[in-house]
């Protein structure tokens, strides 16, 4: 407590003692940061950014603040090779609020294949494979790290395209940060972050509030494209050092989002308005004990809990009669221990072992037992030839109660012949375990009447349907009564990259290739329900690849200008489709002339929702002496596949594609005094909207942010 009191005295009485050196240092940073950031996600051992053996994007807190953006997905969208995509199913709802939201597409792989970590721990609660990144408040983020390429060797399931690790502030020095935000048309937000250092411990507290009045992109449709919602979030982190060798970390975090749903449903008699709420709760608790063993080696013991729930209901507005209510709750608990022996005698070692329990309780899901898993991971890194070559090799074994053990290896080689050049090559295997939806979903569409049944729940449900006379007589269900458990999807990816650094900037060129095998996909059962409508379930089928090239460049011009360019070229295709084309089994029918022809490889564009060209250009003017900057970013996505119209279920015609788009975001800031700065932002300057293809993009938003930043160095 004494530290807190001292801090407030400092704050109130004497601003002169508040040292702004660190802040001014930060102002000197260029877009990527001249002082090299420390990273952890690539190897789980803290190292310098330039030493990372795999492709990595680092978004610093400084960069986040500079963009003036408040949604994590908007910040991720400004990075090379990252696209924000809408869940295909959500778009089918014709103006109903999309319950699936948007997800992160990394290197052309769907959101389900990117693991999202918060302070190194995996978040659960995916809806149709998508984790709503709106659950993560950005006001206390210290750094976001995006690792590209299969990382299951360290993180297990889902890390096939890569890993996004959101690292929150560590309590380091006494500091207070306040951000107030107000944006057109109807968004307001505030956040407060407070850190303090005591004698043997330190504390970080964060509170965040966000309110959006929603927006409407399509006045033709009743209701808003985005219904109004508010977020309340809070977290606290406490670090306690009882001795010089021992350290405890405890943190809890809660994010609560309430959305007011109000839309029109078409009932048999007449349309009716329904209204209700969607309440989304996300709670995490984390504890860690770190013990320094020898000179450098460390031992960690960690526990992590994530409870996620989403409850949604609507009632008929006239009568108050319940219309629909669904819930989804997931609880994930993990315990692990880790041993790190950082570099000594040219090699470093990491060993990790733990277990996890995962449980879902949801409407539309069959009853099911918790899924228990355990894992062991080992990684060794060697430095060779006077540190010019580093070799990182590791693997992880994952065993869950419903499938055979999986081993995921990774090897990464990096060669730095001199200070300017760096060549990295990495290859790894990844997997994605079948999720609860694939196994236990039991959904019947009331309006049209089809059924979608998870693979594990299938046999029980078919017996149930048959006993209730919902299957036609003679339907042969026997082949589906054996337990045919789904197998994990698995894949392999490699990345090759050359980076050249110069005083004036850096240039990196890379190529990558990822493949996913035995993807879990829908199939139609050979018999239908007695009402004639199909029954769908899931099975392992299909292989895809995504391959491409990327270019990233940072340039520092003379004066206060700098530039950052990123570009990704992508080809992502279904291997089964290519085989069918070669076997002359796929056709296309012109939707206007009805002329049917064989589909060719050249006509086949690829998997839906992927843009062949994506890129961003960022220009920064920063005058740190005058305490001001101006920042403009151009984000481009070329046309991407949408829906088949010509009878082959693949994207092969420009009429099946959504148009490309360009977003322009602007921000400018002026430091008023040592602790206060004002920032103005224009998001989506060109006012690009597309209610059908990009419902997550509101139109132009003009906003003002006020930052209050106080930092004390005297508490050390």
């Amino acid at each position: 407590m004494t530290g807190t009191v001292r801090f407030f005295v400092l704050w109130v009485v004497a601003f002169g003692t508040v040292n702004a050196t660190a802040q001014q240092q930060m102002l000197k940073d260029t877009i990527q940061g001249s002082s090299e950031p420390l990273v952890i996600t690539a190897t789980r051992i803290t190292s310098k950014f330039s030493r990372a053996p795999v492709p990595l994007i680092v978004i610093t807190d400084r960069e986040i603040r500079r963009t003036g953006l408040l949604r994590l997905q908007d910040i991720l969208q400004e990075q090379t090779g990252v696209a924000i995509t809408n869940a295909p199913l959500g778009n089918a709802l014709n103006g109903f609020p999309n319950p699936f939201g948007q997800g992160v597409q990394l290197m052309g792989l769907d959101p389900a294949y990117t693991l999202i970590l918060l302070d190194g721990e995996p978040l659960v609660g995916r809806n149709a494979g998508i984790l709503n990144t709106g659950r993560i408040a950005i006001g206390n983020i210290r750094q976001v790290e995006i690792v590209k390429g299969p990382s299951s060797s360290l993180y297990g399931s889902e890390a096939m395209a890569g890993v996004i690790n959101i690292i929150t502030q560590q309590p380091e020095a006494t500091s207070l940060n306040v951000q107030l935000f107000r944006s057109s048309p109807n968004i307001s937000s505030s956040s407060v972050s407070f850190g303090n250092k005591f004698k043997h411990s330190s504390l970080q507290v964060f509170g965040h509030q966000y309110h959006s009045g929603g927006f409407d992109l399509d006045p033709q449709l009743w209701g808003k494209t985005q219904d109004p919602f508010r977020i309340l979030a809070g977290s606290t982190k406490w670090v306690y050092n009882p001795t010089a060798r021992s350290q405890f970390t405890f943190s809890v975090r809660q994010n609560n989002q309430v959305q007011n749903n109000r839309y029109q449903v078409e009932l048999a008699s007449s349309p009716e308005i329904v209204a209700g709420k969607t309440i989304d709760n996300d709670f995490t608790a984390f504890s860690q004990w770190r013990l320094l063993l020898g000179k450098k080696s460390k031992f960690f013991l960690r526990s992590f809990l994530n409870q996620y729930s989403n409850e949604s209901w609507v009632n008929k507005e006239k009568t108050g009669e319940p219309f629909d209510a669904i819930h989804f709750r997931q609880q994930f608990f993990k315990q692990e221990m880790e041993y790190q022996l950082p570099f000594s005698k040219g090699s470093q070692l990491l060993a990790l072992a733990g277990w996890a329990s995962d449980r879902v309780d949801a409407s539309r899901y069959a009853q099911q037992p918790p899924l228990n898993s355990f894992f062991v991971s080992v990684q060794q890194e060697w430095k060779l030839l006077h540190d010019r070559i580093s070799l990182n090799a590791g693997g992880r074994l994952d065993k869950r109660n419903d499938f055979a053990a999986r081993v995921s290896p990774r090897i990464a080689l990096s060669w730095q012949p001199d200070a300017r050049w760096k060549v990295t090559a990495s290859a790894g295997g990844g997997f994605k375990a079948p999720d609860f939806r694939h196994m236990y979903l039991n959904f019947s569409n009331a309006q049209i009447g089809y059924s979608l049944i998870g693979a594990t729940a299938l046999s029980d449900e078919l017996i149930h349907l048959q006993q209730n006379g919902l299957l036609p007589t003679g339907a042969n269900i026997t082949p589906f009564l054996q337990n045919n458990p789904l197998k994990p999807e698995y894949g392999m990816g490699w990345h090759f990259r050359v980076r050249y650094a110069h005083q004036k900037g850096t240039l990196a060129i890379g190529i990558f290739n990822n493949r996913i095998n035995q993807m879990i996909d829908l199939f139609t059962l050979p018999f239908s329900r007695s009402n004639g409508l199909p029954i769908y379930s899931y099975r392992n089928a299909g292989n895809i690849f995504s391959r491409g090239a990327e270019v990233e460049a940072q340039l520092r011009f003379s004066g206060n200008f700098s530039m950052n360019v990123g570009y990704q070229y992508l080809l992502a295709k279904d291997i089964g489709v290519l085989e069918s084309i070669d076997a002359q089994k796929l056709f296309r029918r012109d939707p206007e002339t009805f002329a049917t022809t064989l589909l060719t490889r050249a006509q086949y564009v690829g998997l839906p929702n992927r843009s062949r060209h994506m890129g961003q250009l960022k220009l920064l003017y920063e005058d740190s002496d005058a305490g001001r900057f101006a920042y403009i970013r151009f984000i481009y996505r070329s046309a991407f596949g949408w829906a088949d119209i010509n009878g082959n279920n693949v994207i092969d015609d420009h009429r099946e594609m959504a148009e490309g788009f360009l977003l322009v975001n602007l921000s400018a800031s002026q430091q008023i005094n040592r602790w206060l700065s004002l920032q103005g932002n224009v998001e989506n300057l060109l006012n690009y909207t597309n209610p059908k293809y990009a419902p997550h993009l509101p139109g132009r938003q003009v906003s003002l942010s006020i930052f209050l930043q106080l930092k004390s160095t005297s508490s050390k």
């Binding site: 089918a92 078409e266 048999a268 004639g532 089994k585 064989l598 088949d644 119209i645």
Partner: protein, 192 residues
């Protein structure tokens, strides 16, 4: 029954004009190629909508127990006038290919509706359902080769589109099956 759209009526008129202009004394009639639209109720219950290649028209439900129809549609289910579905001798072969490149019908290998749940044309075998647009899109390059209900004549057919007739309210009322077919009215199995 208003099962013909204006389009198909126009086709029919055009065909009549065409054939009357070029009418010659030919020993074997030339096969007829037409595009027609069949209106099918958007319901999985109730009766099928029956069609005859020979008469180029829908057949009334009253004639459903006869060999006057060749195939029938209910919602997205297609039955063939054979065995469990009707008294006719119709059969079907589903073949992948370009419609115009199929110059003759095979003489053997036809499938029948052996039981109500084992139909010659399996459910979902000819379309993809798109949940984004709610469209039933016929698979391109799927050609249905029919032996007609009399067991003598042959026809080839491909579905071009399944559209929703304009509707108000939540649920569509009518599916419009647009299809192209070539019917050989004479002896033989040639479509040329």
């Amino acid at each position: 029954m208003r099962t013909f759209s204006i389009f198909s009526s126009l086709c029919l008129i055009g065909l009549v004009l065409f054939s009357s202009c070029t009418k010659e004394e030919t020993p074997t009639p030339r096969p007829l190629t037409r595009v027609q639209v069949l209106s099918v109720p958007f319901s999985t219950r109730g009766s099928h909508t029956f069609f005859s290649f020979k008469d180029s028209t829908a057949v009334t439900v009253a004639d459903s127990a006869s060999a006057k129809w060749d195939f029938a549609i209910r919602f997205a289910r297609i039955i063939v006038n054979s065995q469990s579905s009707g008294p006719g001798n119709a059969g079907v072969i589903m073949q992948d290919g370009i419609f115009s490149n199929i110059t003759s019908a095979p003489l053997t290998g036809y499938s029948y509706d052996t039981t109500a749940t084992r139909l010659a044309i399996k459910d979902g075998s000819w379309y993809d359902y798109n949940p984004r647009t709610h469209a039933f899109i016929p698979k391109a390059g799927k050609v249905f080769i029919f032996r007609t209900a009399n067991g003598i004549n042959y026809a080839k057919m491909q579905l071009l589109a399944v559209d929703y007739a304009p509707f108000t309210g939540p649920v569509p009322t009518t599916l419009l099956y647009k299809f192209e077919y070539t019917y050989q009215p004479g002896n033989g199995n040639s479509f040329q």
